[in-house]
């Protein structure tokens, strides 16, 4: 397996700013490997450490100890992010820019030449069906349209690895279908997709492998079939792994 995303003994500790408060361990000794061309689902209950892992991989938070690398380059170096695309859970874009301006801005950050950027942006706007609104400020877009701009910006550099943070959360069924279609398309093109999600049915359908984290530790990793073995489905396996007890309520 050609590993393109790797963490070794990754530990993240948030120091409390409150007097006499202990620090919080968000990740402890996380070892993870994602191979090229995989669609990798990263699962865990809220507060399990999924977002922290993504924050480390994207350079938002430095690890307390251990290492994390993308394409063999330490994530603390900006160049490690040259071949990745990132779609945040919510739409975090400059609302005063138009979609066209935003995409040109990110293209410049990636060092894409103007002519190539123009061509790529036209293709992406067509892909996310925003050609008609390309010259309108993003603040005038609906939530779904903003999410589609997000997808376009995540693909601006034709990334080899796409990092998606709960990509379908808050989307209508049509939007979810579109995101799934794009993930499938990227998979067919041999791209790697690393995404976190709470939608276990969706993960079951599109992922090659999944990892389950809980309380900052890696609890299970393997193919969907391996994880689900002995259980009715992935959801039941997930609940067992995170130690969920059956609710006393009917």
């Amino acid at each position: 397996m050609n590993v393109i995303l790797k963490t070794e003994k990754l530990r993240v500790e948030y120091r409390s700013r409150e007097f006499r408060q202990t620090s919080k361990v968000a990740l402890q000794g996380l070892d993870l490997e994602v191979g090229a061309g995989e669609v990798f689902g990263f699962l865990g209950p809220n507060g399990a450490g999924k977002t922290t892992t993504m924050n480390v991989l994207l350079g938002f938070v430095p690890p307390t100890s251990g290492t994390a690398s993308l394409f063999g380059i330490d994530v603390r170096q900006p160049i490690a992010r040259q071949r990745i695309g990132y779609l945040p859970e919510l739409t975090y874009y400059y609302k005063f820019l138009t979609a066209d301006e935003l995409l040109h801005f990110y293209a410049k950050i990636f060092g894409i030449a103007r002519a190539e950027a123009d061509k790529r942006i036209a293709e992406l706007l067509k892909l996310v069906e925003l050609e008609h609104a390309a010259k309108r400020p993003i603040k005038s877009y609906s939530k779904g349209m903003q999410q589609r701009v997000g997808l376009a910006q995540a693909l601006i550099n034709n990334p080899d690895l796409l990092v998606l943070d709960e990509p379908t959360s808050g989307l209508d069924p049509l939007g979810r279908m579109k995101v799934r279609e794009i993930i499938q398309r990227l998979k067919d093109e041999g791209k790697t997709v690393f995404f976190s999600s709470h939608e276990l049915g969706e993960v079951e359908t599109i992922c090659d492998r999944v990892a389950i984290v809980h309380q900052g530790e890696l609890k299970a990793v393997g193919t969907v079939a391996e994880i689900s073995a002995g259980h009715e489905n992935l959801e039941k396996a997930f609940l067992k792994i995170v130690g969920f007890q059956n609710s006393p309520l009917p």
Binding site: M54, V61, P78, R81, L97, Y106
Partner: protein, 259 residues
């Protein structure tokens, strides 16, 4: 370098799309033109007084634009969470800080150019002289000062989360230096120890922004300042700007940014 210019471009775009800055910009331009255009029987003293007021207005307006713009750059990025898709690209935090600085500095420079143009046209039409070099030097010195102020405010914005607190502290510090900076050493010599040593220390280790106010040269047509002094003042401003940006980068580099 392209990445820095790309970040700077977004700062400039945001600035000219914000209506509040437009209002301040147009108001200053109108007041400058209006005050300069009033005919006070061509009394020289009154003309000088009006010129002084107009220059002060330009100074205050450009300082307000610079401080308020710079103070909101990083906190607004964090609050709107636009920092995350940006940092997920191959751009370093140092490049972001530099781009933010450059954007603010260029934007205020454009504003300053327009203000001084209006001022020069009106003042020259009243006095029938055109001391171009004095105007260029006055504008350049003010732009150098704005570089130091913007870098200082960016540094503050790394440590103070709210743009309002950064702006307020920056206004107090800049105002304090402008008003007291030149007199601090004299004041220090009148104090007992250890206050005297403390004030002398502050005097030598603070950016002397008051040196950049060339109002008297413009108002009294005192001619141009020797270029060597302008070059030295430029170097001094560049040094302070560099120090503030370096410390800002150091603070921002280690900052945890959690989504």
């Amino acid at each position: 370098m392209n990445k820095i210019f790309a970040v700077a471009g977004v700062v400039i775009k945001e600035l000219y799309r914000r209506k509040d800055f437009y209002v301040l910009f147009v108001l200053t331009a109108l007041l400058t033109v209006g005050a300069g255009a009033v005919n006070f029987f061509n009394d020289e003293k009154i003309i000088r007084y009006v010129k002084d007021i107009c220059l002060l207005l330009i100074w205050v307006s450009s300082l307000v634009i610079a401080i308020v713009t710079a103070a909101r750059q990083i906190p607004a990025e964090r609050e709107a969470r636009t920092i995350f898709p940006l940092l997920a690209k191959p751009v370093s935090r140092g490049q972001i800080i530099t781009g933010k600085f450059l954007g603010c500095w260029l934007a205020t420079g454009i504003g300053l150019l327009v203000f001084y143009f209006f001022f020069a046209v009106i003042a020259s039409s009243r006095e029938h002289t055109w001391p171009l070099m004095t105007y260029v030097q006055a504008a350049w010195m003010q732009w150098c000062l704005l570089a130091v102020v913007i870098a200082m405010v960016l540094l503050g914005s790394i440590y103070f989360a709210a743009p309002s607190s950064t702006s307020t502290i920056s206004f107090v510090v800049v105002g304090g230096i402008m008003l007291l900076g030149g007199h601090l050493k004299v004041l220090a010599l009148q104090q007992a120890e250890p206050v005297q040593s403390l004030l002398i220390f502050i005097y030598y280790f603070m950016p002397h922004l008051e040196w950049y106010y060339l109002s008297d040269f413009v108002v009294y047509n005192m001619g141009a300042v020797p270029w060597l002094k302008i070059a030295a003042a430029t170097l001094y401003a560049a040094t302070w700007t560099g120090i503030f940006l370096l410390v800002a980068w150091f603070g921002f580099r280690r900052k945890n940014l959690t989504t």
